[in-house]
Symmetry: C3
């Protein structure tokens, strides 16, 4: 079966997931992003790559932060951006997802940036566009359910490459609620694709999914063990709804066992970097001394995220 | 009395309703739209006709779909677009409609696209602008109460002309909740203006307004009778609030009597086209086999709708 | 201590409050605004002063009207505008104000337009940007708590100068709920800075703050007394929440004592002008005969407000 993200020439047509993406494409995105990092520093921050193209931000699940990064990226590529918060509109009128997509396509959309609470929604859209001969429209997954958040995965890779250059000798630890995290899933696929030899998952048993070992991930429930000698620490956000539920005793208890403190950070390599997809829960999964410390690269992640999204959109629009 | 939509030279100044609009103006809009249909297919989808002009989308009633079509049309004309969802703002602070309009006019608005739940609101605004010497501001009615939805009427005419060329020998049936439909009202006026010899209205008695015959419309309560030999079928959306109310027994019952099925469609001419303003209630007013069938032109309607709205805005801005 | 709004060369870096702003800077803003008043009348209303710059409208408190004026001003300067309604997003996820700012800064924001219900929030942001070495980002206070609304103060000064030319011989009365009004506070500082010899505050004792006399303001609880011989009347909006609370008996009672009627207006100089920041409560603080009368300059205020905001943003972006 063809990879649904690639066209017949093997070029990227949609960005749905990092799983199964050839390493050459991942590297091409990171290389392209690096050419855009400078654009945001220029006096005029725009390039005309998508002038006259219409990008629709389709957010079936609210996320101002992610929507904003895509909106900025698209505007810096000179695209026209239309923001649609779908829960508040057609969905409430009972229109199906596919009817909504067909309608927007008929308005000559060039790209859909899709956020959806249901895993697989962007795939469904991409498949429908292909099946119905609307091959000119591109789809970018901006986070679907627990499944994938590929642009976050890519910006994380960009950040790691920026600080560590070479993936081939790294140990990377992902810490927290891996069970519910599309970021963790995308990071694991990306790290694997780029040849990282050791990927670790650290968290309480109730927040670790089955099958991690089969993906080549080493699992730790003891954070002090898991952090020993790592080069990169990717902290995950603990969702508010987990904090006083059945899976965890309390936020305080969580911090005691899995909060990243300066003491714990000292167990990693001295030049280890600390990442977080944001927004942070200070005092829950991460201590402020670490979040604001010299090893944190959390704000550079945000900056690189704009360039990576520009790269993805620019490449898709060009293919 | 002067037609409030025309200036002293008989040029279109506001688009408030199709009723009373000279045939030459309707035809001019359709001709202009046809020059814009190609724009959306170009690599760069923009024309500079409204560069530096400010278009305000004033939606006193929520409609993401219609707002989006106007936003896209305005951006393709290179206008700056400001979206205002008024229910959430000044209206809640007790400011009057006229004060809101005066304030936005004072910000040098060039055009108001107005959607309002009350019939006549766009007329009121246009009249106020004229009376207060603010003649440089244009008004487009994007749907007011049960009264009119002229751009929908025009895009429906564009669609019919595209597929049937000549209006002078057509039979057109409008099916459904005609009583509450501003689309039906605008379509009937447009079809009459363009010289369609036979217009039919099909629906249950409780959803047919009085006075249709006086407008030259043939009324049918039996759908099978009404569809016989028609060239064009315009299905109307059945509003959710009608479905379990006093006017209708149930959605199932409605579909049984007035749903457009392949069997019923077969009663029309073999080359009849099926239209729908969207969003569709599949299985209520229309069967999916028809909605997705070869005779449906529902998605082309959406595409033509962008071009028609570009034409209306471009013409108004130029006059 | 350095004025936190100025850089080392004494140039405006942020606009946080009119208090303490040198007269030369206030005058420079008004002079610059006057060069922009013509821009909105031109066929193409744009100047390229902020092309490629990203302006973030950060509205922690909802205000469609003020947000719209900044959005229009920024777009006429050719900036890219990102609207963020923060209450609905990160704030609800428990992210701190400073983390939100750092994130948006990392996206290479050039300017934050900040509206916040808490006094001092824009100062806090400006201080943080300075302390963390993010000196390239500019902050404009679009209204913070009861503290300041400097662009409203400046547009009021622009309006007064437009109609009265010289500040040095004026008597200006501010009428209404001065206690809760950031507009009143900004106006008093601006009038003082520009050398207005007599500033009056008129209102019920319960709505007058302590310390007005120390600011050089003459206080009147009798409106007829206070209006005698004034050149300028600035009416304040009576917030709905005051109308049936402990501070006021009722809206009717308020109008009887402090509503601006034609009779009361006759007590002012014959060429006195009437101002109001909007939105007006007709029949509460102002009679419609006055609001729509020949002496009202309320809509010109709105027009000048766009030019003043263009001036502020343009100056900040250039420094």
């Amino acid at each position: 079966m063809l990879n649904p993200q690639l066209n017949k020439n093997g070029e990227l047509q949609h960005l749905l997931t990092i799983e199964g993406l050839p390493r050459s494409i991942v590297t091409h995105i990171l290389d392209t992003a690096s050419s855009f990092v400078g654009v945001s520093d220029r006096e005029v921050k725009k390039v005309p790559l998508m002038r006259g193209k219409s990008v629709f931000n389709l957010f079936f699940e609210n996320s101002t932060r992610t929507r904003t990064t895509f909106e900025i990226a698209a505007k810096r590529l000179s695209a026209d951006v239309i923001n649609l918060n779908i829960s508040a509109s057609s969905a409430s009128k009972g229109e199906s997802l596919i009817d909504t997509i067909d309608n927007l396509s008929a308005m000559h959309a060039d790209m859909f940036v899709v956020r959806h609470s249901q895993s697989g929604a962007p795939h469904l859209i991409a498949k429908h566009l292909r099946d119905s001969g609307q091959d000119h429209v591109r789809v970018v997954n901006a986070g679907d359910g627990r499944h994938a958040h590929p642009t976050q995965g890519l910006l994380d890779m960009y950040t790691i490459r920026h600080y560590k250059q070479d993936f081939s000798n790294l140990t990377v630890a992902i810490v927290g609620d891996i069970l519910h995290s599309r970021v963790a899933r995308s990071d694991i696929h990306a790290l694997t694709t780029l040849g990282v030899p050791e990927i670790r998952a650290i968290g309480p048993l109730t927040l670790l999914p089955a099958g991690l070992e089969q993906m080549g991930v080493r699992v730790f429930t003891d954070m002090n063990e898991g952090l020993k000698g790592v080069d990169v620490i990717i902290m995950l956000r603990l969702q508010n709804e987990r904090m006083n539920g059945a899976l965890l005793p309390s936020a305080q208890e969580y911090f005691k066992n899995y909060g990243l403190t300066p003491e714990r950070l000292a167990l990693a390599k001295p030049d280890a970097i600390v990442m977080h997809p944001g927004p942070m829960n200070r005092g829950v999964e991460i201590d402020s001394a670490v979040a604001d410390g010299a090893q944190a690269v959390i704000l550079p992640q945000v900056t690189f995220g704009i360039a990576v999204r520009m790269a993805v959109m620019g490449i898709l629009a060009g293919n």
